[in-house]
Symmetry: C2
Subunit: 261 residues, 2 copies
């Protein structure tokens, strides 16, 4: 059984890519077979997993327009374990305009993924879809293809502002396009113990979402921020650092909480 | 002469809203008359300037669809000086879909702003447009309405990745829609002296963009992050803190560099 997870939060810079890359790397270390789909035109997940998106001829844009099957753009990551990445190139920024008027524009990823999972070698324990900071057509594609939504929450003031909109969008997609979709997990990240505000956000989220927020909290650390510049996950870059350990704990907790369907 | 400035960077969480609010507050303290237009559906600038966007009946959505003139949604901020805000409400998230098929969809803000500037009381020294983290229709509207683009750059690894895309979009808008548009200013922000990476980004940006990057650098500080939770700019919240002083310096530098037309 494959868990298909959309990593989404329309607030920018809250750790979607960092969480996608490090959860995927941690689960691959535990022996799982993991696919990361980079659906953000910035291509940060592609870069952090060791690929140069300027050098790749094709990527997720060609998959969404139907020119290439997903299998054609899946690459094995240099990270340890069975970790793969469906890479994105800069032209993905034009995907929303390119497919917006197609009848099945919201099902493009769902169809491409179903085809890939039916092909030889297309089997995974976890599939993470890294979303851009918006609730537009790319994110809707991820929500139609996924079974569950994972929401990273930065321990800063604006953190809770956007959750209402996110829940509204999930409800709409659930009712019209994908009845399995639900917010399964929240992870508190960039926790800075120097500020009272961070603890307030933690208390707030734990009060409002007791059943879905993970107990593990990711601290704001220099090593987590530096890892992508070495084209590694923080787990490979500095395994025993607080950032790496907290992602390993979060991945273990996530894996052991079966997502309710 | 009014300077109309789009605060844009499609990378999320780099300090667009924080820079919009604090530059505007600093310039208002210097005696300028300043308007902030909140074009981000998250409404973070509206909140940081002291308004509760859940309680407002109308906002920028109604302006872009043509139901309301801009004058109807401009509010005076509780911040010191002549600082005003064209507020946004959550329904702005639906604006791109609502106007996408209209012939003049990219000129909606430009037209609404021109009308407001011609009306009594519609005169300002600076107009800042806070953009969402994308290069979609809302940001294009800002780029058509503005004369210059101000790009906040976070001192982190992904900082330079997105600048190519941003420049490409600016070039397209400049050639087709708005020949005055240019990137006038860059500001390095969230500088954390604990990490070597931050200094690398500073050196990189100063090498590539020597003429437009401001000398002032905004440090990553707890007071800057806490100010919005008190519904204040950092300048009002803690005037003599390093974050406030660096924004006052950046505003002074920005004001004295006339934007080349
Ligand atoms: N725990 C952490 N400690 C320190 N820095 C972090 C941490 N998590 C993320 N970062 C840094 O914060 C910045 C934002 O993180 P990231 O890019 O993962 O967010 P995002 O939500 O994917 O952004 P976007 O909205 O642009 O897609 C990055 O520079 C990243 O390296
Ligand atoms: N100099 C700073 N020091 C500490 N924290 C900061 C600083 N500047 C911004 N922040 C915090 O970082 C987070 C991101 O900043 P902000 O929301 O302004 O970015 P943005 O680019 O507007 O994000 P989005 O892409 O979602 O619009 C906020 O929680 C903000 O309070
Ligand atoms: Mg990202
Ligand atoms: Mg913002």
């Amino acid at each position: 059984f494959t868990r298909i997870i959309a990593m989404s939060n329309q607030k920018g810079g809250v750790g979607k890519t960092t969480t996608t890359v490090n959860m995927a790397a941690a689960l691959a270390r535990f022996g799982a077979r993991v696919l990361v789909i980079d659906l953000d035109p910035q291509g940060n997940a592609t870069t952090a997993l060791g690929f140069n998106h300027h050098e790749q001829p094709v990527g997720m844009f060609q998959v969404l327009t139907g020119e290439q099957p997903l299998s054609a753009i899946v690459r094995k990551s240099p990270e340890p374990g069975e970790l793969f990445c469906a890479i994105s190139t800069l032209d993905l920024a034009g995907a929303e305009m390119a497919i917006a008027t197609e009848k099945d524009s919201r099902f493009r990823l769902h169809q491409a993924l179903a085809e890939h999972l039916a092909s030889p070698g297309g089997s995974y324990h976890y599939i993470f879809i890294d979303c851009p900071p918006s609730l537009g057509l790319l994110t809707v594609n991820a929500m139609v293809a996924a079974h569950e939504i994972f929401v990273p929450i930065q321990c800063e003031y604006y953190a809770l502002e956007g959750l209402t909109q996110l829940r509204q969008t999930v409800d709409q997609v659930n009712q019209v396009l994908n009845p399995r979709l639900h917010i399964s997990t929240m992870l508190l990240t960039m926790f800075d113990s120097r500020t009272r505000l961070a603890q307030d956000v933690v208390d707030d989220v734990r009060t409002h979402f007791p059943d879905i927020v993970l107990n593990s909290i990711i601290p704001r650390t220099v090593r987590v921020a530096e890892a992508p510049s070495h084209l590694q996950s923080v787990i490979s870059y500095d395994t025993n650092s607080p950032g790496s350990i907290s992602y390993l704990e979060a991945a273990y907790e996530f894996a052991s909480r079966k997502s309710h369907m």
